[in-house]
Structures are given as C-alpha cells and as structure tokens.
C-alpha cells in the first residue's frame, strides 16, 4: 500500500520491450498503442532503419526498425513482432521490436547512469540503465533517437 502510493506520486511508468536478447524501455506517456506487425510499403531513398509506411486507421505511419536504428542487426519482421506506436515530437512513429516484456514503475533513484563503455549511439539515446530483478534494461530517449523529426516538428 505504502509502496503503491509512493510509486504513484514519485514513480513513472515505463514500457519495457525486447530486441534480440537485450531489454529496453521508453516512457509510457509517449506510447500511443501497441500492435502487431503488418507488411510496410517500402519508401525510396529511405535510410535502412526505415522499413516503410503502414496504414494505421487512415494515418500513414512510418515504421522504424529499432534494432537497426540502435546499431544492431536488422530485424527480419515476422507476425510475432510488435510495433510500438509512439509520439515523437509532433509526429507519430511505429517502432518495430521483438516483444513487449513489462510495464515498470520506477523512481528516478532506480535509474543508473549509462556506463562509459557504451557505443556512440547508446550514449546519445540512452538516458540510463535500470537494474530490475537481475535484468538490465536500457531507458531510451525517443526524442534523441529521432533528432530530425524533433527538429522538423519544432
């Protein structure tokens, strides 16, 4: 009870998901919905991590392979993959991940700084690391992940 109250007042909720054998999380406030993978329409001259666009109830939604965006191996999307529909700046983007694993409530004290050994991209995008029940979860800053979108929206 005390814990719950504490979490409600001080904590923030995060959505954790898996890409390969790693776990990441983003602020739940920026997540609009989670849906299954549907084939995307490829776009010419798009960067590799942009898989294309899909129809989300009449809205043309770009799909980003988060794995590739984070510098890991390109995903090979299957029906088991999920798309996290997230708000980034004024735009809405679909993030392709392997699976959603958890919804976490954490307080700022739970978040540790990103270690120095992290790669360039992680330094830019990672807001910190969470240690929960022996798992390591990397907190991602979506705005930093798509700086172009952010600047266009501004």
């Amino acid at each position: 009870m005390t814990n719950a109250v504490k979490n409600l007042t001080h904590g923030r909720e995060l959505i954790a998901f898996r890409i390969g054998d790693q776990e990441f999380c983003v602020n739940i406030m920026s997540v609009r919905e989670i849906r299954g993978w549907t084939p995307a329409t490829a776009m010419p001259h798009a960067p590799g991590h942009v898989l294309g666009v899909i129809n989300l109830r009449g809205v043309v939604l770009p799909i980003v392979d988060l794995s590739q965006r984070l510098g890991m191996a390109p995903a090979e999307p299957t029906v088991r993959h999920v798309i996290i529909v997230a708000q980034v700046g004024a735009k809405v983007v679909g993030l392709l991940v392997d699976a959603v694993s958890d919804i976490l409530t954490v307080v700022d004290e739970n978040i540790q700084p990103t270690p120095n050994i992290a790669s360039e991209i992680e330094k830019v995008c990672a807001r910190g690391i969470l240690a929960i029940e022996g798992r390591m979860i990397c907190l991602i800053d979506l705005d930093a992940l798509f700086p172009d979108i952010e600047s266009e929206a501004a």
């Binding site: 010419p44 001259h45 666009v53 129809n55 009449g58 809205v59 043309v60 939604l61 770009p62 266009e152």
Partner: protein, 759 residues
C-alpha cells in the same frame, strides 16, 4: 464573443462587401442600370464605413465616406455612371480594398493615390451639386469635405451638433402659451433654476411608438418635478377617437442641467408635439395667462410607480390629477392598440412572401469540414477494403452481401461527392481579383483593356481556388503586357484600340477548365524560335511545329518581352505558371493565331483531396501515377527500344524518340534496369513540354484514391508526391511524375531533391 472576434467578422464581411462592390461596379460598367445594382454597390461601401467606424478605423472611414457620398449621387440619379466615373470608382474600390487590408494587417497604403482619388470622387460629387443647384435648388447639400462625420466618435443628440443642422429648425406652435415669449434666457441667479415646460403631444407621437409617460419619467430624472395635466380638450366618450391625443402637460422641473437637458429628453418626440421650454428662477410656474376661472394648478409629485411591471395598488391609491392623466394616456394607447387589432393589415406578410426566402447559409469552420472530409476518406478506403475481402472470400459472388456492398459503395461515393461539394466554392472571388490586376496593368502599360469573365460561378475545391490566384495573376499580366498590342498598333492593324481579355471557367469531364484568351497579336513564333535557339533550348536547324514553338514559352527562364518590365518580372516566366498549375495536378497548354491572339487553357482537378490515378506495379511495389500526367500507355516492342550512350535508352514512338525512364531504378527499388519489353511504358508529359516514357512492370487499373500526407509523420520523399491507402488496406505511394522526369535528366533523384529542399 469579444471585440476581436467581431473585428474578425468585420474583415470577413469587408471581403464580401468588396467583392460585391467590384462586381456591381463592373456590371454598371457593362451598362447594367438596375437600381438594385447601384443600391448594392452603395450598401457595400456604406456597410464597410459603418463597421470601420465602430472600430475607429479612421482612414477607412474617411475614404469610404467620400466614396459613399459620390455613390449616393449616382444612386439618386444625380450623377450618370459614365465609363469615366466608373473608372474612378473602380480605382476607389481598389483603394478601399487596400485600406481594408492595411487596417487588418497593419500594412501601409499608397497615401498619394488615395488622396488623389478622394479629390476625384469629391470633384464628381461637386459637379453633381453644381448642376443640381441649377435644376432644383434647395436640396440638402452633399458634404464634399473628406472629414467624416461618422468617424468622429459618437454624435451627441444635442441640437447644436453640426451634423444635425439640417433637421434642427423645427417650428413650434405655441398656441396655448398665448402671448408668452417663446424662449427666455434664464436669469443667472443663485438656487436651482426651474424649467417650465409645456408639452402637448400630437397623435403622431403615439403612432411612432413614443409615450408621454416615458418622456415624463425621463424628465423626472432631471430633478424635482411637479406636473399638471390639461384634459380640457378631452371630448365626451362617444366622440373620442382612440388614436387622437387629447392631453397636454405643464411641467416644472427644478434642475441645474439647463434647457438643453430638458430638450434632449424630447429629442425623439419634438417633431410630434408642441413643446416649450423656458427657465425661470425658483418660482412656481405662472398659470396659463388667460382664464381665471380655470382651476388653479395643483403641482403634484410625479409618481413613477405606474411604470413598474407590477402596476396596480399604487395607482389605485393615488388620486392626483397627474397620475390620472398619465393613466389616461396609457389607456389611450391601449385603446388604440386594441381598436387597431380589428383590421389587420397583411401588407407585411404579403411583402415577405413576394420576396421569397433568401438562400439559407451557415458559416462553418474549415477545420470541421476538413475533418469530415478526412473521415469520409476513411470510409471510402474501408468500404474498398471490405469489398475486396468479400470478393476474395466469396467465390460464387452472388450473395446478398455483395448486393449490400454495391449499395454501400454507391452511398459512399455519394457521401464523398456531397462532402467535397461543401468545400467547393465558385471561382468568382479569384476572377474578381483579376479585374483589378487588369486595371492596374492597363494603367502601367498605357493599354486599354476590357476583361470579360464567364462562368465565374463554376465551383471548385477551396484549396484549388486559393492556389489558383497566383498563376492566374501572372498569366493575366502576361496577357496584357505581352499579349495585347498598344492602342496605336491595334488601330493600325484595324482592330478595336481597346483590347479584350476573356477569362472563362467551365466544368469538363470531372475537371475545371479555365481559359484565358486575348485578342492580341498572338505568339511571335519567329522571335520565340530565335530566343530558344539563343538560349540553346533548340538547335537552329530543328524542325518544330507551330504548337511546339508556342509551347517553348513554358521553358524555364524563357521571356519573349524585348525589355523585361516590372510587370512580368525578371526570370518569372510561364514556366513558373506551368509548374504551379502542375503542382495542383493540372495541365496548361497554349494555342495561338498570329494577329488574332492566344488562348491559354488550364485543366485542373476539382479537388486536392482525391485524385484519379493509375495503379501500377514497380519492382513488387504498388504505385499510383496521377492520370493527368499520362498522355498514353504503350506496350514497348523490342524493335522500338534503342540504346543511347552509356545507360540511356530511347523508345521510338511514331517516328520520334522519347527517353525511357525506369521508375523502379530511379526510385532505387532495383539496382539494374528492367527489360522494357516485359513492362509497360507510360508516356507522360512533363515540365518544359518534353515527353518521357516511364517504365513500369504492370498496370493494375485505374481508380480514384484519397490523398494522404507523407509529411505528417515522416518527411518529404524525393520522387513521391503523397501516399494513399488502397483497397487491401496497404499504403501505396503516389508518384511525383515531374520530379522523376527531372531526376532522369540528372543522374539521380536524391541530390536534386535535397538541394531543392534546402534551397
């Protein structure tokens, strides 16, 4: 609603009134002498002036005032709306529009020009006054001064106000006061002066909705009041006319606010009563000079309680003559109302029916309409998806579901059409703007031009209208500046020195066609050809048809004017016009007859929300190519394909060679060129008049698609104009034909586009 919102409404209204004004003036110019046209023109200016006054827009008010005064002369048939007069008025309408814009956006106007026009307008009005003075002398003088009365805050009802001079000298009749001097200046003594008032209403006072009781009430607010009602003229009941006024009052009010304050109480009534006001020192009002037998007047306090909603007890209890009088006055009114009810006059109702009801309109936020359009777009897509999945799952195809679906499809289409119709607007406002452009450029070039517009009620999507103004303005300028000859040349050629520019709009097969025709000299093909050779657009020995030469003017940077004038502008030529028309999904062409003029024909989609497209397959992807861009489709034969240089291929079509563009390759969908023989070629017309054959793998069919933005959540994609959603629920990209063709000239799509994006 606050004042800012009302101001916004005012400016919207101004736009409508300005359009009305210009339209009316142009009709007058065409010889229309319908009084209602003049009235409408007058009302438009009057209305702008009225609103502008409310917002303290003094410049607008003063100009409108002078304009209105001159229009009033026309309205009262004292000034003939000759072409010269109308020329001044049309210019004045332009200045009024400028002043309105300046008032809204804070810009400045050409003060010199508006001053000059004020002078011209005043001269017109003055001329009228002079001629008038000879004919019928004593008519109220038309104010020729630019100083606006309406602009000076609020007019006070004080009789001394200059504006009221015209109706001040009302003769009073003072019969009842006998030989008393009419007005007597008050002795400037101490203590509160007393005003003595004789007030004898005539029946007109009641007929015009004034009430003696209310006037007495207002009077009582000035100070302590005593009142005497004279009922002597009240006839016996059987002779009483309920419409007549039988009472008069003698009132004395102790007030230090002077006679003016007293008179102002009677401001609305003084026409319909005998009124005498004079100030005495604090002495009681002398009795009516004459008859000593008359009962001495008993000053009584004026009881206002009868004016309360719940009248009753207070009246019954008071027996004073004043109250009785007031009461009687009330009764008289009531009687007159009751008596009148018997013979009901139906004139009003008849008038109402005769005129018929005006078209009912409501104002709706554009956002709301757009939301509706979006939703209907979704409906169309969903319906298509549903149909497709039913067809896929139902092989026998005769189920009731299919019939229901067909109905649904029809309904959806109808809903879509109706919704699109909401955004549809007549091209009138744009056409009207053009008449001003013509006037201005005619002035600058010293040419005499007549603009004729036809089909201005043709409707098209608002977005198209908004984007039409710019290219049209440019074309009109071109037509007058380059198309029409000078009056001297025209006369020498046996033409009317006044040139004609004709702007026409009409619907043709689901599109709007706008034609701009001038009766000028036509395209000087020799010069165009020479210029094209000079600019390396063609080679000197190249054989071109007349049509091809004419179309050279659409090439970038092409300008046929010997000297570059301010009007057509440097470097902004017909290529820009063509590009903006194409950006709207439209096409433009020219046909010209030497000595007889040129005709530009534009064909535009009726809406930018949907598009007729050809659905094609390219490297496993589904793309939509706008139908407007496609001239024809052909199945290439191996013999028609010719390699040219390192990677270029040409296709021969009826003895001419057309570059072949592999869409799949240029969009990076595949690394190497596909075999043209296995695909289909779409012959497209692109910017600059050149044709290209776009290679696609297969054609799936034609259909109307709902246009979706890619930029909303992503960004601009080179070579792609927009996206749409097809019946299978998947996103398909709409090809930007011009960008693809442009890229085929260079080496790749990307650098050119990104360059364009940053520039």
């Amino acid at each position: 609603m606050d004042m800012n919102e009302i101001k916004e409404i005012f400016f919207q209204e101004c736009e409508e009134q300005l359009a009305e004004l210009e339209g009316g003036l142009l009709r007058l110019n065409d010889g229309d002498r319908d009084p209602e046209t003049v009235n409408a023109v007058f009302r438009a200016v009057h209305s702008i002036k009225g609103g502008a006054g409310a917002f303290g827009l003094d410049d607008l008010v003063s100009f409108a005032h002078v304009f209105e005064t001159t229009l009033e002369c026309v309205r009262s048939n004292r000034l003939e709306p000759s072409p010269d007069v109308l020329k001044v008025m049309l210019k004045s309408a332009d200045v009024l529009a400028d002043l309105t814009n300046a008032a809204r956006d804070g810009g400045s106007v050409d003060a010199e020009r508006s001053r000059a026009l004020i002078g011209e307008l005043e001269a017109l009005a003055r001329g009228e006054v002079e001629t008038l003075a000879r004919v019928e002398a004593p008519v109220a003088e038309t104010p020729a001064s630019p100083a606006p009365d309406a602009g000076t805050a609020i007019e006070t009802p004080a009789p001394s106000s200059g504006n009221n001079e015209g109706f001040q000298p009302i003769p009073f009749s003072f019969d009842d006061f006998g030989d008393e001097p009419a007005l007597e200046t008050a002795d400037e003594a101490s203590c509160v002066p007393t005003c003595e008032i004789l007030f004898r209403p005539r029946s007109d006072l009641y007929a015009k909705g004034n009430e003696a009781t209310l006037l007495l009430r207002d009077l009582s607010r000035l100070g302590d009041m005593s009142i005497h009602c004279d009922m002597d003229s009240l006839p016996p009941l059987e002779e009483m006319n309920p419409e007549e006024a039988y009472f008069s009052w003698r009132i004395s009010v102790a007030t230090d606010r002077g006679e003016d304050a007293v008179r102002s109480v009677f401001e609305f009534a003084e026409w319909d009563c005998d009124l005498e006001v004079r100030t005495v020192k604090d002495e009681p009002l002398a009795t009516d000079g004459g008859d000593p037998d008359e009962a001495p007047m008993q000053p009584v306090p004026f009881d206002l309680s009868i004016l309360d909603d719940d009248q009753g007890p207070s009246i019954v209890e008071t027996e004073s003559p004043a109250v009785a009088a007031v009461n009687a006055a009330e009764t008289a009114t009531a009687v007159s109302q009751a008596a009148a009810a018997a013979s009901r006059n139906t004139a009003a109702a008849t008038a109402a029916n005769a005129q018929g009801a005006a078209a009912q309109t409501i104002r709706v936020d554009l956002d709301r309409v757009d939301r509706l359009i979006n939703l209907v777009g979704e409906l169309v897509i969903n319906q298509a998806m549903l149909s497709q999945s039913v067809v896929e799952n139902d092989s026998n195809g005769v189920s009731s579901i299919n019939m229901g679906l067909e109905e649904l499809q029809q309904l959806t289409r109808e809903i879509q059409d109706s919704v699109m119709a909401i955004r549809a607007q007549p091209v009138k406002p744009v056409f009207q703007r053009m008449s001003r452009i013509v006037r201005e450029i005619a002035d600058v070039t010293g040419k005499s031009v007549r603009l004729i517009t036809e089909g201005e009620n043709t409707e098209v999507d608002k977005t198209v209208i908004d984007k039409l103004a710019e290219p049209l303005t440019h074309m009109i300028r071109n037509a007058v500046d380059h198309g029409l000859e000078s009056p001297e040349k025209r006369e020498a050629a046996g033409k009317n020195p006044e040139g004609t520019v004709r702007l026409t709009a009409k619907h043709r097969s689901g599109r709007i066609v706008i034609e701009l025709a001038d009766d000028g000299a036509g395209i000087n093909r020799e010069r165009v050809r020479q210029k094209a050779i000079d600019n390396d657009l063609i080679t000197a020995d190249q054989n071109l048809s007349d049509e091809e030469v004419d179309n050279l003017i659409f090439h970038a940077g092409f300008s046929t004017a010997d000297k570059i004038s301010d009007i057509s502008g440097r470097g902004v030529g017909m290529d820009v016009v063509k590009r903006s028309i194409q950006a709207l999904g439209g096409r433009i062409s020219i046909s010209s007859k030497p000595g007889h003029g040129s005709v530009f024909t534009m064909s535009l989609p009726l809406t930018l929300a949907v598009l007729d497209g050809m659905v094609v397959t390219v490297a496993g992807q589904t793309l939509v190519v706008p139908l407007t861009a496609i001239v024809e489709t052909l199945q290439p034969e191996a013999a028609a394909i010719h390699s040219f240089g390192a990677a270029q291929r040409l296709i021969s079509i009826r003895n001419s060679f057309c570059p072949l563009v592999d869409v799949g390759k240029i969009l990076n969908f595949r690394a190497s060129q596909a075999n043209p023989v296995e695909g289909v070629a779409l012959l497209v017309e692109s910017e600059g008049g050149g044709q290209r054959a776009l290679m696609v793998d297969a054609i799936q069919g034609q259909r109307q698609v709902v246009i979706k933005s890619l930029e909303a959540n992503y960004s601009h994609v080179p070579g792609i104009a927009a996206a749409t959603i097809l019946g299978d629920g998947r996103v398909a990209l709409i090809l930007d034909v011009d960008a693809v063709v442009a890229a085929s000239r260079g080496q790749s799509l990307k650098p050119e586009i990104s360059l364009a994006a940053t520039g």
